[in-house]
């Protein structure tokens, strides 16, 4: 696991759009086809794997939350966790390998800062991690559980769906585990294959009682994660692993919240609504730019942000305006979350699609 993460970190070399750098990318290349060349190369260029299919686009520096700092996605996560443990003395972080800093460096420094009773390793057992987290939350303390890869969340599916999601309802609100948040790295990374690349949000979307959230950027991630931790319902927070290093932007140092269950229109348009979440938002942004340039099509781009409960109103409002909807996600098509969105939109606004 650790070796993988180090390699992943070492191989991701994307340039943020607009910044000058030493490396230039060949145009029009698809995944694995391009070469990265140093500008000063004289002879044969070194072959390097081009691992990303998009360019991360940072958002403008936020002004309303005080001082900001350049952070990548995993640093933004660390910052959110740091803020949480500072504010809430009951908060604890646990999972496999979190003590030394985590395989993706999300918990670096936290054990030293907050103590080994607050940031600790558990045995290698996802059903135990989530069950244990539920128990902490039942007493009212804040539990932040890490599942090492979303691909490995399935042993905990029973605890999440049958227990966490139903705790409040089945007890008539006598008990709840609202102070539980589960974090997991999510989505494709280029070389992850079957078991380090999955996007399982659709499985959980079918489960009332939990919230499911996917950020597109460091700023969004910190604000959404803080909202999840403070939310009084059990939340699953999926972190696009390909963005851990690739996404860099200015992020406020102090805590702030990005609201759950609110989609964000990140680009206005008139001809078609494009919906995505996580990494795919950046792909869709490029698609919107290409559509404008090559087809003269004006796209409205929406980052869904929260998968469950999702912001039906924002999407429908946009589709009523544009009359067309395209949803794009990494997960398998059949039963993917796009089917929930499209069927709901068709039901809600039949006359405009």
């Amino acid at each position: 696991m650790a070796a993988f993460a180090a390699t992943a970190g070492g191989l991701l070399r994307l340039r943020a759009a607009g910044s000058e750098g030493q490396w230039r990318r060949l145009r029009g290349a698809g995944l694995l086809r391009g070469l990265l060349q140093p500008e000063s190369a004289t002879g044969v260029a070194a072959q390097r794997r081009r691992v990303a299919h998009f360019t991360f686009q940072p958002d403008p520096e936020p002004r309303e939350y005080g001082q900001t700092q350049k952070m990548n996605l995993f640093q933004a996560i660390t910052s959110a966790l740091d803020n949480s443990l500072a504010k809430d003395p009951t908060a604890v972080i646990f999972g496999e390998d979190v003590a030394f800093g985590g395989v993706f460096r999300c918990t670096v420094g936290l054990r030293d800062k907050y103590g080994k009773d607050r940031v600790f390793n558990t045995p290698l057992c996802e059903q135990g991690i989530v069950g244990f987290g539920i128990g902490i939350a039942v007493t009212g303390a804040t539990a932040i559980a890490e599942i090492q890869f979303a691909d490995y969340i399935f042993p905990a599916f029973d605890q999440i769906v049958n227990e966490a999601a139903k705790y409040r309802y089945r007890s008539g609100d006598l008990f709840n585990c609202g102070s539980l948040t589960i974090r997991a790295p999510w989505g494709c990374v280029g070389h992850g294959a079957l078991y380090h690349s999955q996007s399982p949000e659709a499985f959980f979307a079918h489960c009332p009682g939990i919230k499911v959230v996917v950020p597109r950027s460091p700023f969004q991630a910190k604000g959404l994660l803080l909202s999840c931790i403070e939310d009084k319902n059990p939340c699953i927070f999926f972190e696009p692993k390909i963005l851990y290093r690739a996404a860099v932007e200015q992020v406020p140092v102090e805590p702030y919240n990005v609201p759950l269950s609110q989609a964000e229109v990140i680009q206005e348009g008139s001809d078609v609504t494009l919906v995505a979440w996580g990494t795919q938002v950046h792909v869709i942004r490029e698609v919107a730019a290409m559509a404008q340039e090559k087809l003269g099509v004006s796209c409205e781009v929406i980052d869904l942000r929260t998968i469950l409960p999702w912001d039906v109103d924002t999407v429908c409002k946009s589709v009523i305006k544009t009359g067309r909807l395209l949803i794009s996600h990494e997960a398998p098509l059949t039963g993917g979350f796009a089917s929930e969105i499209s069927s709901t939109v068709q039901r809600r606004c039949p006359e405009c699609v």
Binding site: G131, G135, N176, V312
Partner: protein, 446 residues
């Protein structure tokens, strides 16, 4: 350490060496020690400090003989008991010497539970409630353990622990309300009968999936430790549920994270129709504890004092030492698994009768009480009449109450009701407006 231990074995001291002896051994050369030992066998290798296993994963010595450890199931972990089957104290120093009032509370809790079980089982047969699970034969495990805890200790149960709630004075009205799913049910009528819960009495609401409560109880214990609450968590489960992965997860987490928790296994011989011989091949559940590094004991679950003593000591040490304890209470499920089960399909009536007549926790305690002069046949008769009357009254009242409003189908899914659920709630309301005549709305609150 290994050297000192080996040396102690050779020199025959049972407690290891005293300080002086240890100092002597502190810097042995291999040669020096070999010289002073009698040679036992030609091939014996004396373990020198250089030759100790260094593996991080286990602290042990080397052995040069190939030998598999034989699991001991013929004469496994012994069963601790205080009373014999006739309710007589075997070893007076183990008698907890509880005051009369407390022991009478034990007896009344167990018998009241038994009475409630009979009446509610019947009520299911008559179609008044949908489902029920009795606790016949296991009353001792509930009451003995509950009595040894503080009232604020958190309880995670499986589904056959109603006696714990009974001991904590959960009113009959609320037992009935949950089984009838009426407006007085604290659970708002959402679950099947016997899925009790009570925040006030620190009894976490029961859920149907088995063993899921085990790792949760461990988490709660960890939080209690962090809060310096001087609180233990007790987690009940059956020997069948102990086969679930969640049980393994819970045991391992409790040990590695040093949690003040009591794991209480009710080994009652059956998981629905599956006997223990098909549930496990090792020496029950107690023998698994040491594998996780957990202090473990097996007790006679039909001996309320044995259960009490073991739980009391486990509680004291779990809180003082922040470590888990495993108690396997051997007992017998006299009743069927539930009202959906007829156990004559897989076990003999003779077997059931043996336990009912010869080794029942209620009878054993009654004999103890009678031998003390704390109970007699007249009191027994009067109490039976009184407890039956109490149960019948609660039962009749519960029957008369309406069910909760259908709008409660949608609340508490989240803390706040999201827009989509509100829409569904409104859609149901509109549906009932139009088609209400097809639904028994008279039985439900508006």
């Amino acid at each position: 350490m290994a050297v000192a231990a080996a040396a102690a074995r050779v020199w025959g001291s049972s407690r290891g060496l005293d300080r002086a002896g240890l100092l002597l051994l502190r810097r042995p050369g291999a040669r020096g020690l070999a010289r002073s030992l009698p040679r036992r066998q030609e091939q014996q290798h004396f373990p020198s400090l250089d030759d100790k296993p260094q593996f991080p994963g286990a602290s042990a010595e080397f052995i040069d003989k190939l030998e598999f450890i034989q699991p001991n199931v013929i004469s496994g972990i012994p069963v601790y008991r205080v009373m014999d089957r006739q309710g007589q104290i075997i070893n007076p120093s183990e008698d907890p010497h509880l005051p009369q009032e407390k022991v009478l509370k034990f007896y009344r809790s167990m018998t009241l539970l038994n009475t409630m079980d009979r009446i509610l089982y019947e009520s299911q047969r008559q179609g008044r409630i949908s489902f029920y699970m009795t606790n016949y034969g296991e009353e001792g495990t509930h009451v003995g353990s509950a009595a040894a805890l503080d009232n604020t200790d958190l309880v995670f149960g499986q589904y056959r622990e109603a006696g714990v709630l009974m001991y904590r004075d959960y009113p009959l009205e609320l037992f009935m309300a949950q089984c009838y799913g009426n407006v007085s049910d604290l659970g708002k009528g959402r679950q099947m009968p016997v899925h009790y819960g009570c925040r006030e009495r620190h009894f976490v609401t029961i859920s149907s999936p088995l063993a899921t409560q085990i790792p949760q109880a461990v988490g709660a214990a960890y939080a209690a430790k962090r809060a310096n609450a001087n609180r233990v968590v007790i987690c009940y489960f059956g020997e069948g549920a102990a086969s679930e992965g969640d049980a393994h997860a819970g045991f391992n987490f409790a040990a590695t994270l040093e949690c003040p928790i009591i794991f209480f296994c009710r080994n009652n011989g059956y998981a629905i129709s599956t006997p223990t011989s098909e549930q496990y091949r090792g020496d029950g559940i107690a023998a698994r504890g040491p594998g996780y590094g957990i202090m473990s004991i097996r007790v006679d679950g039909n001996d309320v004092f044995a259960v009490y003593n073991a739980t009391k000591e486990a509680r004291r040490r779990a809180v003082a030492e922040n470590q888990p304890f495993l108690i396997e209470a051997m007992t017998y499920r006299i009743g069927h698994h539930s009202t959906s089960d007829d156990s004559s399909a897989y076990r003999s009536v003779d077997e059931v009768n043996y336990w009912d007549k010869q080794d029942h926790p209620i009878s054993r305690l009654r004999h103890y009480l009678q031998s003390r002069g704390w109970w007699d046949d007249e009191q027994e008769k009067a109490w039976r009449k009184q407890s039956r009357k109490k149960v019948m009254e609660a039962f009749e009242q519960a029957e008369r109450k309406p069910k909760p409003s259908p709008s409660l189908l949608f609340s508490d899914v989240y803390q706040e009701m999201p827009a989509q659920l509100r829409k569904q709630q409104e859609a149901l309301a509109r549906h009932l407006q139009t088609y209400g005549e097809h639904y028994p709305l008279d039985h439900f609150e508006k």
